[in-house]
């Protein structure tokens, strides 16, 4: 699984989930962290769950004053894929930065 399989939005979602993979996260928290709208966030989560990379469950206890929340975290496969995709993204950025530094500066003709 490479970073090429994921869109930029999905990569930011994977990055948020990968930060603390053991913790179950809820949708609004992920939306705040990634800056994604709910209409983008949930389809991305569903696609990841269909590929077996994200697991979902409901909060076990009924909290007072609000409905139970749906929670998400990476599966073991999801964690591996997320780490591979994020490291590939980082190395791509790094290569891009080096290439930009090596490019000779344009000399202004006077």
């Amino acid at each position: 699984m490479t970073g090429r399989c994921f869109s930029v939005q999905t990569l930011s979602l994977l990055s948020a989930l990968e930060r603390d993979p053991a913790v179950w996260r809820h949708g609004y928290e992920l939306a705040k962290e990634t800056g994604l709208q709910s209409g983008m966030l949930y389809p991305a989560l569903i696609r990841l769950a269909d590929r077996g990379l994200v697991q979902a469950r409901w909060e076990e206890e009924q909290p007072a004053g609000r409905p139970r929340r749906h929670l998400y975290r990476l599966t073991a496969d999801g964690l591996t894929a997320a780490r591979a995709a994020l490291s590939e993204q980082r190395s791509k950025r790094h290569r891009g930065a080096i290439a930009a530094n090596r490019r000779p500066a344009r000399v202004k003709e006077v």
């Binding site: 709208q37 209409g39 409901w58 139970r68």
Partner: protein, 389 residues
């Protein structure tokens, strides 16, 4: 206020999605307690609407596209025509209404009978059934347009019933057939494995055979209407013989092969009987309407009745005065407009007769099963031993 409306809308739409998807939407709707009030909550919930719409379209994109194309073709076919034609304005209102009704019916049926059953057969039945219903609607509308060219001259068209009432009843009947197709193939109607294939196969074969006879009748240039041509024997077979046989067969088979929570064999037999006749008359109505719409000039011309006691020669049976220069055109139109009256009437009458015949067939199946069980049962009396010689 808007947030509350959107929450209500989304929670009431959850059933549209399969269970494995519905919980994601419910999860999204459960979040707004955290999102704060006002615009951010509305924006969050609009994301839910987007999710719902996307899932619905993605899951049924091919079917939705097929329906849109087919419905577009139907509306395109029925739209042209002169305003002097009594059927044109009626078609332009009622056919799009029927199309909209057909688009909404799957959602309504899903609410009460659950989603479509798994497998290729229910899927094919739904797609083909819908296409047949649309073809019937288009064929009937074009046939009426061809037949009612002089209709506006006589007010609301000619025939025994105003064109609008006739078309409205026809549209309702077709919507009923579409609903029946959806219900029969939904998950909560649990039938034995062979019930639906038997009903559909026997019904389709009968419908095609009847339509073939009608086409031969048209192309041979014979006189007389379809009712006369087919004769009582055929109609009797469709209304009574076919459902009796299907009801008997399905009821016997269902007794051996019914899912645990399925309908009783007797009910399955009756349902199959009505379905077989329904299929036969729908296929007949569709092929008849399409054949007439394609070649209205082939419809046998009805001749004016002889004037009673030397009376009015230019009057039709409903006592309209027909100008002499329009007389031929009038009888041509009337012949076309009423050519498919028999199959159209059978759409309503056929299933009613079929229900009675089906109940009779399942009763016979039940009786034959009881007789069979009496001899097969281990407690059945031993057959008498031959007398010693």
């Amino acid at each position: 206020m808007l947030a509350r409306v959107l929450t209500g809308l989304l929670m009431r739409s959850v059933w549209l999605l399969p269970a494995e998807r519905a919980e994601w939407l419910e999860g999204l709707v459960a979040e707004p307690a955290q999102t704060g009030a006002g615009r951010s909550r509305v924006a969050w919930l609009l994301g839910g609407v987007w999710l719902l719409a996307g899932e619905l379209l993605r899951r049924s994109a091919a079917r939705v596209l097929t329906f849109i194309v087919a419905a577009g073709i139907v509306v395109w076919l029925i739209w042209p025509g002169r305003s002097s034609d009594a059927a044109v304005p009626v078609n332009r209102v009622l056919v799009p209404l029927l199309v909209a009704e057909l688009a909404l019916l799957p959602l309504l049926v899903r609410r009460f009978y659950g989603p479509r059953r798994h497998g290729w057969l229910p899927r094919t039945v739904r797609v083909v059934g819908y296409l047949v219903v649309l073809a019937t609607a288009a064929g009937h509308a074009v046939e009426q347009r061809e037949g009612q060219k002089l209709g506006a001259y006589f007010g609301s068209g000619f025939g025994r019933m105003p064109v609008a009432a006739n078309a409205a009843i026809f549209a309702l009947v077709l919507a009923g057939y579409a609903a029946a197709i959806l219900i029969l193939t939904s998950r909560r109607v649990r039938l034995s494995r062979l019930a639906l294939p038997i009903a559909l196969a026997t019904g389709t074969l009968t419908g095609v055979a009847l339509s073939a006879r009608f086409s031969v009748h048209l192309w041979s240039g014979a006189r007389g209407t379809l009712v006369v041509h087919l004769g009582l024997g055929w109609w009797g077979f469709v209304a009574l013989g076919l459902p009796l046989l299907t009801g008997f067969m399905v009821s016997r088979l269902a007794a051996r092969d019914t899912p645990a929570t399925g309908l009783s064999p007797a009910r399955q037999g009756s349902l199959a009987a009505v379905s077989a006749t329904g299929t036969a008359v729908l296929v007949l109505a569709a092929l008849t309407a399409v054949t007439i719409a394609i070649s209205p000039q082939k419809v046998p011309l009805r001749t004016p009745p002889p004037p009673p006691n030397g009376g009015c020669e230019s009057c039709d049976p409903v006592n309209l005065t027909i100008p002499s220069d329009l007389r031929h055109e009038y009888w041509v139109g009337l012949s076309i407009a009423s050519a498919s009256r028999a199959p159209d009437a059978m759409l309503v009458i056929g299933p009613m007769f079929a229900l009675f015949a089906g109940v009779l067939g399942t009763g016979l199946a039940e009786a034959s099963r009881r007789i069979g069980n009496r001899y097969d049962s281990p407690h059945s009396p031993e057959p008498p031993s031959p007398a010693p010689t």
